[in-house]
């Protein structure tokens, strides 16, 4: 079925994102496959934000730039999006109080409503213009007014009565202006009563937080940084119900070192940040390496370097993510190719971290982290299991083993007697955990740690390390939200291609990719210098015919990307 898109634009503080969430959630509850992306700036009020909700009856992998229904609250949004109509049937509802001289759009229909005036009439000062978007959407979908009222009451808790009056007034005004009936076949409400227990509508960050938690996560330490902050916010909200503790520490350095402390006490622990904060966690990351601390790290990228562009998307951190921490140690780096994958991958990675006692990075980017999509809960996720040591005076934290993995015990846990001494160490150490600088001891302990790498490589093969989308055509390598963009673009591209979605990056999934050795491939990434190209070339003997690079912080529109792909295929 066709894919339809609703775009809502306005100032920060006007509730653009919230309105889009209500729209998206309504569609989700009705059984649609929905994708929501939010474009916002680093400011609290004003500026220009817009949210896009694309939906269809089959999976939607990213949002579209052209809208079937466009709602703009202010002049800037009106202008910014006046070219963004999908087709002649598209509708642009705008705030005529803000945009007095609306010109006819390139295509589509326009309808000005005095949204501010109506708001003033109902609320007096204050008010919530974003409800207007919900009303227009409901009408446009052909949903009855009663449903609108119920949704408004449920979703906007402050000032419920005025809210309902305003929403109704807009609904009526729009209906009088001739909008009405459903634009979408089969959109009667409710179409499907969603099985809420297996389907959620979550952002990538929520999915990975929840997935990690289901896999055993107990503690999360972080310092807010876009686009990773919502992991912290989400888990903090779950303290009481989920028995997970999300601590906003004084800095990323504190977060990472507190996290390792919690690991020593036996808690399944994660940390998260964006590039700048992650940079501050480097020394601790290396500490996790030498102490063999299982530590799950979420790295959600945004354009860099340094502060960069805080609220937009990028995949610039690949080399940084792959080469974290001074010194040599085993680690795992993986990137989900959808919010759905983020859920299962987070659990997988937490489990692998504990199986192999090593730090693990889940690499995402703003578009994947902060965009929302239908999430189907998998029946099962891996559970972070621990190889338990035997308490007693002969216990050694770093016992030399064939596998390189030394059994664990935790201070103060029930099975520990007074003779058990569990010593972790940031220095090179003896099996006992006591420090050493002796040549043979250094070699022995490094060898022990290094022995884990091949085992990790085999263990990761339990999971889908590379996903392939499509059956024939040129292979296009991508990871993270690049995969989402390509999957959506493929729907519109007349020439065939196979998407090779790299999920596990370290260890490199050589086995799955050996078929491409000697072949021509295309790559796509959000970087200006071709990090992914260099990474692939380092690990696989391919010739890269074309690299699609984008580095303006914006995701690709699927239609635009389809055109690019047609050109280069």
């Amino acid at each position: 079925m066709a894919i339809r898109t609703v775009i809502i634009g306005g100032k920060a503080g006007e509730g653009v994102k919230k309105a889009a969430q209500v729209v998206a959630n309504t569609l989700f509850r009705q059984g649609w496959q929905v994708f929501q992306a939010d474009d916002y700036q680093s400011l609290i009020k004003g500026g220009h934000n817009f949210s896009s909700v694309s939906f269809s009856d089959s999976e939607v992998h990213t949002a579209y730039a052209k809208a079937n229904l466009l709602i703009s609250f202010d002049q800037r949004s009106y202008t910014a999006h006046s070219e963004d109509m999908a087709d002649a049937d598209s509708l642009h509802v705008y705030n005529s109080d803000m945009t007095p001289e609306a010109v006819q759009e390139a295509r589509g229909k326009t309808l000005g409503l005095p949204l501010s005036t109506m708001m003033k009439q109902i609320y007096g000062p204050g008010g919530n213009v974003s409800l207007a978007a919900v009303s227009v959407f409901f009408l446009w979908m052909g949903y009855p007014q009663a449903e609108l009222e119920a949704v408004i009451a449920r979703e906007f808790k402050r000032n419920v009565e005025d809210n309902i009056s305003y929403a109704k007034a807009v609904y009526q005004a729009a209906r009088q202006a001739g909008i009405g009936g459903s634009q979408i076949p089969d959109s009667e409400f409710p179409l499907i009563s969603m099985e809420q227990s297996v389907q959620r509508f979550t952002s990538g960050n929520q999915a990975m937080a929840l997935g990690a938690w289901l896999g055993g996560l107990d503690f999360y330490y972080a310092y807010p940084m876009t686009p990773a902050s919502s992991i912290l916010h989400y888990l903090a909200l779950k303290t009481t119900t989920h028995k997970v503790y999300a601590i906003h520490a004084e800095s990323e350095l504190a977060a990472a070192n507190m996290a390792i402390g919690s690991v020593v006490s036996g808690a399944r622990t994660a940390i998260g940040s964006s590039g700048g904060g992650f940079a501050l966690m480097q020394e601790a990351f290396s500490l996790a390496g030498i102490t063999e601390a299982p530590l799950l790290c979420f790295l959600a990228s945004r354009p860099g370097p340094a502060t960069g562009v805080s609220t937009y998307t990028a995949q610039e951190d690949l080399p940084f993510a792959l080469n974290q921490g001074h010194g040599e140690f085993a680690r795992i780096v993986a990137a989900p190719d959808s919010p759905q994958r983020a859920f299962s991958l987070a659990a997988e990675l937490l489990s692998l971290a504990w199986e192999f006692q090593c730090p693990v990075i889940l690499l995402s980017d703003k578009h994947l982290s902060e965009s929302s999509q239908n999430l189907t809960l998998p029946d099962e996720v891996p559970w972070a299991r621990v190889e338990q040591g035997v308490p007693g005076s002969s216990y050694q934290r770093y016992s030399i083993t064939e596998s390189g993995v030394s059994p664990l015990l935790f201070p103060g846990s029930e099975n520990i007697d007074d003779n058990t001494v569990i010593k972790w160490n940031s220095h090179e150490h003896l099996p006992s955990g006591l420090r050493t600088d002796k040549a043979e001891a250094m070699i022995a302990m490094k060898d022990k740690r290094n022995r884990k790498s091949p085992a990790i490589s085999i263990a990761t093969q339990r999971h889908e390390r590379v996903a392939f989308y499509g059956e024939q055509g040129t292979p296009v390598f991508a990871y993270g939200s690049g995969v989402m963009e390509l999957r959506e673009a493929r729907k519109h591209c007349s020439k065939p291609f196979i998407i090779v979605a790299l999920i596990y990056l370290t260890p490199f999934p050589s086995e799955e990719l050996s078929v491409y050795s000697g072949k021509e491939i295309i790559t796509l990434e959000h970087s200006s210098t071709g990090n992914l190209d260099r990474f692939i070339r380092q690990n696989l003997d391919v010739s890269i015919k074309h690299s699609v690079l984008r580095y303006d912080g914006r995701p690709f529109d699927p239609l635009e990307l389809a055109k690019i792909m047609e050109d280069i295929l």
């Binding site: 504190a254 020593v264 036996g266």
Partner: protein, 277 residues
């Protein structure tokens, strides 16, 4: 009888180093606490990097030899994951008031229920005697060959201001008194801080100065201003407890009397929670 708290590892502190006094006092304090019912397996230690940190290798107690400056952050994480632990963080003056100042002050601010023992030797011992945040102006070290041009922090007033609920000062050469302080700190519920005057025979041998200046506090000062005055008295190095307050502790504010290590929901329980409406 309690098992030996030593590890048998060769001790590489300089002969005469004040750290020996601290090590002995810690052993004695833990011995007494265990005699009075504490479980040895409930003690957990951490430290920074520096001469002070080597105490980790000489104590047969569980824990983690942390990063320079980060021990007190790590200690907080250890405590939060298992509040049954008695967590001790050993810090150097460079470590806890330089590189890791932030963690020290935030642990105090949070009234995190851990103990920080500051080995104040007035320099960076292990890296060959550079000036530290507690060195006196004019201190000559390899990084300040012309003499330090910074004023030192005052550890106790700073910690008091940050919110530490138990603040004391000991002297490594008064091991019995120090033992008492450590016992009191470990028994204190909340953030406890002991500044231990620890002579460094190699770079800052202030035994004579300290022996001459130390004086025992008679009572706990009743106001913070008075505590600060006494702590920074130019004529005396007062030893004893400067402040002790009963205040809510962080982990109880976070999860009451739960114990995340013991009460963690298992996989099935998590599935239930996930699917609960």
């Amino acid at each position: 009888m309690m098992r030996d708290l030593g590890t048998g590892k060769e001790n590489t502190w300089c002969t005469g180093c004040g750290n020996f006094g601290i090590l002995n006092a810690v052993k004695k304090a833990i011995g007494e606490l265990v005699e009075n019912g504490s479980k040895l397996s409930d003690f957990a230690i951490t430290c920074g990097i520096g001469c002070h940190g080597k105490i980790f290798d000489y104590l047969a107690l569980s824990g983690i030899y942390g990063l320079h400056g980060r021990g007190t952050a790590t200690a907080q994480g250890m405590k939060l994951a298992n509040p049954a632990l008695k967590v001790i963080s050993f810090g150097g003056d460079g470590d806890s008031l330089g590189e890791g100042l932030e963690h020290t002050l935030f642990a105090a601010k949070r009234n995190m229920d851990i103990t920080l023992i500051l080995h104040n030797n007035g320099n960076y011992g292990l890296t060959t005697g550079q000036f530290s945040p507690l060195s006196e102006p004019g201190y000559k070290g390899l990084s300040t060959p012309l003499g330090s041009i910074e004023k030192p922090f005052r550890a106790i007033p700073l910690l008091l201001e940050a919110g530490a609920s138990f603040v004391a000062r000991g002297f490594s050469a008064r091991p019995d008194h120090l033992t008492e302080l450590i016992i009191a700190a470990l028994n204190h519920k909340g953030f406890s801080f002991i500044e231990v005057m620890q002579p460094c025979v190699s770079y800052n041998n202030n035994y004579a100065y300290l022996n001459q200046k130390v004086k025992l506090l008679e009572v706990i000062p009743t106001t913070q201003a008075h505590a600060i005055d006494l702590a920074s008295d130019p004529d005396h190095v007062y030893l004893g407890v400067f402040s002790r307050k009963n205040l809510p502790v962080y982990h109880e504010l976070l999860y009451g009397s739960a114990n995340p290590q013991k009460d963690r929901p298992d996989y099935l329980h998590r599935q239930d929670i996930l699917h609960a409406k």
